[in-house]
């Protein structure tokens, strides 16, 4: 039998595996503070004088254990980079077009990825000051920050 394109046999599949990701001691503490207190925390390497957000228990530069050096960073920051996502696909949290940005929070040294809303796409720019808008309903994830909005 000659199999042509219009009668090729395909099996429909879908990778969908219920799964629980343990967010770790460091990640749990970050997410709990975010959920319960609406505070964003980072971990500081004193040797490198660098505050990491998202937090991690080891400094990637010097290898020092920094898991207890929690510092609170502000919920305001500066956009260091951005893109406007124009395609709509199921893995996205909001409908396109939306602005994805790297935001250096005041008090942190590593820009942090999140969504920016409340500004027209054509006015979006690097250097924009933004402030976190917390979600009304918690999901105990990074989406407890709903998005960032232009500050002031």
């Amino acid at each position: 039998m000659n199999i042509e394109k219009d009668n090729q046999f395909v099996i429909e599949g879908k990778l969908a595996l219920p799964y629980q990701y343990f967010s770790g001691r460091t990640g749990s503490r970050f997410l709990i503070r975010l959920r319960d207190d609406k505070k964003i925390n980072g971990l500081k390497c004193n040797a490198c004088n660098k505050v990491f957000v998202p937090p991690r228990s080891t400094c990637e530069i010097c290898g020092e254990t920094i898991q207890d050096n929690w510092v609170e960073v502000k919920d305001t920051g500066t956009v260091t980079g951005f893109t406007v996502v124009r395609y709509s696909e199921p893995h996205q949290p909001v409908k396109a077009p939306y602005i994805l940005a790297l935001i250096k929070l005041d008090g942190a040294d590593t820009p942090f990825a999140h969504i920016v809303q409340g500004i027209a796409i054509e006015n979006m720019k690097v250097g924009l000051k933004v402030k976190a808008k917390f979600a009304e309903k918690t999901t105990s994830t990074i989406m407890d920050i709903n998005c960032f909005m232009p500050a002031g």
Binding site: K5, Y21, V84, H91, L100, T110, T141, I142
Partner: protein, 381 residues
């Protein structure tokens, strides 16, 4: 101890948008049978192939441990097999180290990927990001690369016109490559007017969805003449992984590429890539990456690739004469596609895209959004 490894033969199928008529196994079997035919290599446990490196990705195959179902068609049954789920350039690096260590005389490197079978390439690469901080935001290799594109275009004054020139040139070069994906020719105007996918990346700036399979036979120096009278030598390899979080990285510093290249150059004795290397194949998944990687490799001074693109530096330095990844090679295999073009050019088998007098070439591969990981291989005649 020998410091070089021979590539005795390569075999590939044509890059296509949708190989609906063949399974992964069938695609790779074609390459496998061609390699056996070309070299006469056997699977004798004393004198033949005892070890195979495969290259594939679980999520793109929608099958965990994606190599396990491939063993029987790559000759890996009842012998050693290991998998590279990073860019195939690393599969070549593994093969080199297996031979240089003395553990194996012969290594077969076999890679496959069918991007066409998943509903969305971006959904696949979204899964590369952690489920706590990045994945929920919809990050994927395309939009993370767009952060890098914006920053780099500003740093090196790269414009939409430069990018259009790169894309049109890629299509033109690919039209001379019988194994390249057939995309049809386009104008610079088509590129500039193609819609944004993720600003400043436009639809025609990104490589198209592609299916492909490839194989290479590697051999120790002492026995290469058993399988070919025209070996191409792998003389240098280096790789480097940058930070995981996009915000931790200096996106336009080429940190990982510079480290990878420096290691490969040192191993191969390359002092100045501009004069010591005759041909380059760079992993340009998105158009802006071609000049960015050229800066990282030391081919162009940092921040000056705008002038390099304008003054036809890409032609002068023989960059991506295959059409590059930009014309279409699947993720994971793009570095192997680069190495295959270098192999053909060094053997004088690149037909009407052949450059005269190529003695040394560089193949490059990247993995991850915005080139988190880089691998560089030096090939010589």
């Amino acid at each position: 101890m020998s410091r070089r490894v021979a590539v005795c033969a390569v075999a590939q199928i044509k890059n296509e948008p949708d190989i609906w008529y063949q399974r992964f196994q069938g695609m790779l079997l074609e390459c496998f049978e061609e390699l056996i035919k070309k070299t006469g290599v056997t699977f004798d446990m004393d004198k033949g192939i005892r070890n195979i490196v495969t290259c594939s990705d679980d999520v793109f195959d929608a099958r965990t441990i994606s190599d396990s179902g491939m063993a029987d068609v790559v000759g890996a049954h009842l012998r050693g097999e290991k998998k590279s789920a990073q860019n195939g350039i690393n599969a070549l690096g593994y093969g080199m180290s297996m031979i240089l260590s003395g553990h194996d005389d012969l290594v077969l490197v076999m890679g496959h990927c069918k991007e066409s079978q998943s509903e969305s390439r971006n959904m696949c690469t979204n899964l590369a990001y952690d489920p706590f901080y990045l994945r929920p935001l919809g990050l994927d290799f395309l939009n993370v690369s767009a952060f890098q594109a914006r920053e780099f275009m500003k740093k090196s004054n790269i414009t939409d016109e430069h990018l259009a020139k790169i894309v049109v040139r890629s299509r033109k070069n690919a039209s001379k490559n019988p194994f390249a994906r057939e995309n049809g020719s386009i104008s610079e105007k088509d590129v500039i007017s193609s819609p944004y996918l993720s600003d400043p990346v436009r639809e025609l700036h990104q490589y198209p969805v592609t299916d492909w399979a490839v194989g290479l036979l590697l051999c120790c120096e002492e026995r290469a003449n058993e399988f070919t009278d025209k070996p191409v030598w792998l003389t240098g390899f280096g790789n480097c992984m940058d930070s995981y979080f996009p915000g931790d990285r200096e996106l336009t510093s080429n940190f990982a590429l510079k480290k990878a290249a420096a290691r490969a150059y040192k191993m191969a004795g390359v002092k100045d890539p501009k004069t010591d290397i005759d041909l380059f194949e760079l992993n340009d998944a998105i158009a802006y990456q071609l000049p960015l990687w050229a800066e990282g490799l030391g081919l162009v001074p940092e921040g000056e690739s705008d002038l390099w693109v304008e003054s036809d530096g890409m032609d002068r330095h023989h960059v991506n004469l295959s059409g590059g990844m930009l014309n279409g090679n699947p993720i994971m295999l793009s570095g192997l596609a680069r190495a295959v073009e270098c192999f053909l050019q060094l053997r004088g088998e690149a037909e009407n895209r052949q450059v005269d007098g190529v003695k040394r070439a560089l193949a490059h591969g990247t993995t991850g959004g915005a080139g988190q990981h880089h691998g560089v291989i030096i090939l010589e005649k």
